[in-house]
């Protein structure tokens, strides 16, 4: 595994499909805790949804080394890059950003071969059309994680071999982790 190479490839992937590549460069803000950045402007103006791009964040604070946001159609390519780097998919999950009308799918990758490296890949998809390609072809373990995410958020993983309720009962018709879920 070559950390620099992986970062380079992911960076390239993240900058792909940016709305306007020449204008907005991917945000690269090492060291500075990204949390403050997001927290402060909140009081002034409603926070903008995060732009695609790669951040090398402070591991001691965030618990991850690389945080990259990409377009939803690129998650499989990201998985392939990380698979080639012999990384493991630890978990797939979602976050409901209801204010931005977006759902975020988060992939946690880690490296079990020695040096500690954790990479988080995220992709945002519109809330009313929650479709994203599955990475279960690349990582078999994603199968269950994606099913779980489907349970909780109703995200449709396209091409998933068995997108059924995993933890919730087969006949339920709600997705509890959506922020507009009001109990049943």
């Amino acid at each position: 595994m070559n950390k620099a190479n992986v970062i380079q490839e992911l960076k390239a992937l993240a900058s792909e499909g940016m709305p306007d590549e020449t204008e907005v460069a991917p945000v690269v803000e090492p060291a500075s805790p990204e949390g403050d950045q997001e927290a402060k402007p909140k009081k002034a103006a409603p926070p903008e949804p995060r732009k695609n791009g790669l951040l090398e964040v402070d591991y001691a604070v965030k618990g991850v080394h690389v945080d990259v946001q990409i377009n939803s159609e690129n998650v499989v390519r990201a998985a392939e890059i990380l698979d080639r780097a012999a990384m493991t998919l630890e978990a797939v999950t979602g976050v409901d950003w209801i204010k931005d009308k977006e759902l975020e799918v988060v992939y946690d990758y880690s490296y079990t071969g020695g040096e500690c490296l954790r990479i988080v890949v995220r992709a945002r998809i519109p809330r009313d059309e929650p479709n994203i390609p599955t990475v279960s072809e690349v990582f078999g373990g994603a199968n269950w994680h994606e099913r779980e995410t489907f349970d909780f958020f109703g995200i449709n993983f396209e091409g998933h071999p068995q997108l059924e309720y995993l933890l919730l009962p087969e006949d339920c018709d709600f997705h509890p982790l959506l922020k507009d879920f009001k109990g049943c």
Binding site: E38, A86, T112, V120, H145
Partner: protein, 372 residues
């Protein structure tokens, strides 16, 4: 998935392991498609004790979510406690006094031994040997007594607090730990003679349930399953947290990739736990067990946080998304056996029914943690 197409074969039939089957510790159902004694396809069906812990995490303050940790994996509750408090301490930048860190390590490792002992007993029970279970319980009882004298509970601990531990430990506890270690050391040869070296057990475990390192990687398997496949990965070593870097311990790794390897990893891990505890007791400093300044209402800065610890069954990680409020915006619990179990379907194909059970036992399942 394939069960529909495969079941058209007339010679195949389906049987259920669980949810009321004596082989599934807890409530797991595995739909087995069998061809005589051979497993054609095995599909675990989860969710029988799903409690939506992640949603609870979004509705409670950071502090109020603490007791939930003991309910995830009730056998090594302290590892989960530790993972959560460390995450919140990281988020809120709380300094933990050193004595508290040592106490955390001692109690967590004791808890890990008790978890492994219970697994040992239950595993041999799965294989049809009843007696080792009760010998293991005898030893485990001592741990529970010790931990009860410190934490007040016997199983679902809620002992750690943000910034330390809820109370200090006495010297009796520390000497008690040392006495227990002495006792367990003297009992280990008995376990090995009775169980590990038993020819029947070896026949049942050797070469059964092969899980290659590559498969572990693809499925995100961690913990003893990964280490039984020859990969030296332990969060305590690779990504040190708490005061683990100060201790000298080995990560047992076996290359056989079979159930026996996983068994041996856990047995050796108990030895290593004892080593850690001994060193911790020797080094434990005096001082407070709670940080001087812990904010009343914890409001971590907005952003994503991730923290992983080594629980008894593998990497337990929490991803918390904070919006700067006193409760989480999103709380993702990444439990190790969820990933470990997910490889069961692929790995168990073509196994004998009895071997599939041995394999399932060697993964060491704790269902509440899978279902969350």
């Amino acid at each position: 998935m394939s069960s529909q197409t495969a079941s058209q074969n007339k010679e195949h039939f389906e049987i259920n392991l669980g949810p009321q089957h004596p082989a599934t510790h807890g409530v797991l159902r595995v739909k087995l498609l069998m061809d005589g004694e051979y497993v054609v396809d095995a599909e675990p069906v989860l969710g029988y004790i799903h409690r939506m812990h992640e949603l609870m995490g979004e509705n409670r303050t950071w502090a109020k979510y603490l007791p939930n940790m003991g309910r995830l994996d009730y056998l090594s509750a302290l590892s989960y406690n530790l993972g959560y408090v460390e995450l919140v301490e990281k988020m809120a930048a709380i300094e933990v006094p050193e004595r508290a860190e040592y106490i955390r390590v001692i109690t967590t490792e004791m808890n890990r031994i008790s978890s492994h002992l219970l697994w040992f007993g239950a595993f041999v029970l799965d294989l049809g040997g009843f007696t080792p279970l009760l010998y293991a319980f005898d030893d485990r009882e001592h741990i529970l007594d010790l931990l009860e004298s410190v934490t007040g509970s016997r199983l679902t601990y809620c002992y750690f607090r943000f910034g330390g531990c809820s109370n200090d430990v006495e010297d009796e506890f520390l000497t008690g730990c040392l006495t227990f270690i002495k006792r367990l050391r003297s009992r280990m040869p008995m376990y090995h003679n009775l169980v590990t070296k038993n020819v029947i057990l070896m026949q049942r475990l050797e070469g059964v349930g092969p899980v290659s390192a590559e498969m572990c990687r693809k499925y995100g398997a961690t913990g003893p399953v990964l280490r039984g496949s020859g990969i030296n990965y332990d969060v305590r070593k690779n990504e040190p947290y708490s005061v683990y870097p100060e201790f000298d311990f080995d990560v047992p790794v076996y290359n056989e990739c079979d159930s026996m390897a996983r068994y041996m990893v856990r047995m050796d891990e108990m030895d290593q736990c004892m080593r850690i505890i001994e060193q911790a007791i020797a080094k434990i400093p005096e001082g407070p067990v709670m940080a001087a300044k812990v904010p009343k209402m914890i409001k971590p800065a907005a952003g994503d946080y991730y923290h992983a610890v080594e629980a008894a069954r593998g990497t337990f990680a929490i991803r918390a998304v904070s919006e700067g409020k006193n409760q989480a915006y999103r709380m993702k619990l990444r439990s190790p056996t969820f990933s470990n179990l997910s490889l069961f379907q692929e790995a168990s194909k073509g196994m004998l029914l009895a071997d599939a059970l041995a394999f399932m036992g060697s993964i060491d399942l704790v269902i509440p943690e899978i279902d969350r």
